[in-house]
Symmetry: C2
Subunit: 238 residues, 2 copies
């Protein structure tokens, strides 16, 4: 059942960069091994063609669920990649998304079609097909930049977490040796978006307080601060 148009059209796909934190607090990305040409046998980002009546974000969520079984995850459009030679099959434009998933809440299940799926650390990536290496790099850059001024890091953690976990998360994402413990804590608590919800149990050291990210409070504060931000003007941050 062929489809005919007066002018040629690129094919349109979505690709997903899915970030997760494993048990040892390493930042990982989900890759699948391709079973078809082009790049059969190579690893690539999960993705696929956009359906004709499907919003882009929904296509990304669909691919994500097909590959991993995960639902209700944080997802955001990253960038659209459209270099004419990026796919050997012809002109294919891909809208890339990135997702942050909480691995403890979303254990990976094998993809429905039994393709190989695996989590890779950012320092042990295999060679990727297409321009997926570049897409992944863009996602890492975005995550690093964004985590500094928006509380998206919490999407990677379990509902309840300790400040040390949170600090390790930031160190991991930023790819940095170590942040000063005292200052990290002062700062993040001063923001007033964390809520104490209990204590660790059964650990062989002083039990840490457990916190929860209070999204409502964050959004309220963000609204209040918005005017201030504008009035204060530029930062440049260089």
């Amino acid at each position: 059942m062929p489809y005919t148009y007066e002018y040629p059209r690129p094919a349109l796909t979505v690709d997903c960069v899915i970030f997760g934190l494993d048990e040892s607090q390493e930042l990982k990305v989900l890759l699948i091994q391709r079973d078809q040409e082009p790049f059969a046998g190579k690893w690539a980002l999960p993705g696929g063609f956009v359906e004709m009546d499907e919003p882009l974000e929904q296509a990304a969520l669909r691919e994500l669920e097909e590959e991993t079984g995960m639902r209700e995850v944080f997802i955001e459009q990253l960038y659209t990649f459209g270099a004419p030679e990026r796919d050997p099959r012809g002109r294919v434009v891909s809208v890339a998304y990135y997702a942050l998933v909480n691995l403890s809440a979303h254990p990976v299940q094998a993809a429905s079609d039994a393709r190989k799926v695996a989590w890779y650390g950012l320092n042990e990536l295999p060679r990727l097909g297409f321009d997926h290496r570049q897409i992944l790099q863009a996602a890492v850059d975005r995550l690093r930049a964004k985590v500094r001024y928006q509380p998206i890091g919490f999407e990677l953690l379990p509902e309840q977490f300790t400040l040390s976990q949170l600090q390790r998360l930031y160190e991991t994402i930023l790819g940095v040796e170590e942040l000063n413990k005292r200052n990290f804590r002062t700062r993040i608590l001063k923001m007033g978006v964390l809520e104490e919800v209990g204590k660790q149990e059964g650990v062989a050291h002083r039990p840490a307080k457990l916190y929860r990210f209070n999204k409502e409070k964050y959004e309220q504060l963000a609204r209040e601060k918005y005017d201030d931000l504008l009035r204060r003007g530029l930062d440049f941050d260089i």
Copy 2:
């Protein structure tokens, strides 16, 4: 000469949000009046279909030049809009770009095909076709956010400018009453990316010093500061 595919494909377009500063330091956006259905007679963002062998950014630059005659302007991908119903002709996915142009260096010339082209202030926008109002809003939001931490504002100013011009630019973009003069100056000069290049002449008040943005210096500083930024960790900025 029809083109046939095994599966249906959305059409792919680019749309451009072109910002400029007029003589009186107002932030304006370039719109064209459509001469064809859909939305004939309505105003819309300049844009058009992506050619089969053309990179996306090049398509945006081509549209920009076709509509305005401008070349070598700052342009950046904004977001890709793909709601199934955004175009009444069928599924059309649009990659939106925004551009910053220096109006004194780039006077608007009539579009080649004699369509009406006009600059509109953000507070006097006409009704726009498609979802272009939404695209424009996304561009304004991005510009406001970005101008605070990257020196893209200079793209809107002439090569040489006074600190008062620069301050008015920031006030305009941020849509804010007035920034404190003393503090604005201290801050922006302390960054060390402006270079004195002369003085105003023939004005009926104390002549202002003229400055130039030193891009090389900015990039050097940005590189140096990058590590610091990472080490310092999060800002959250709420």
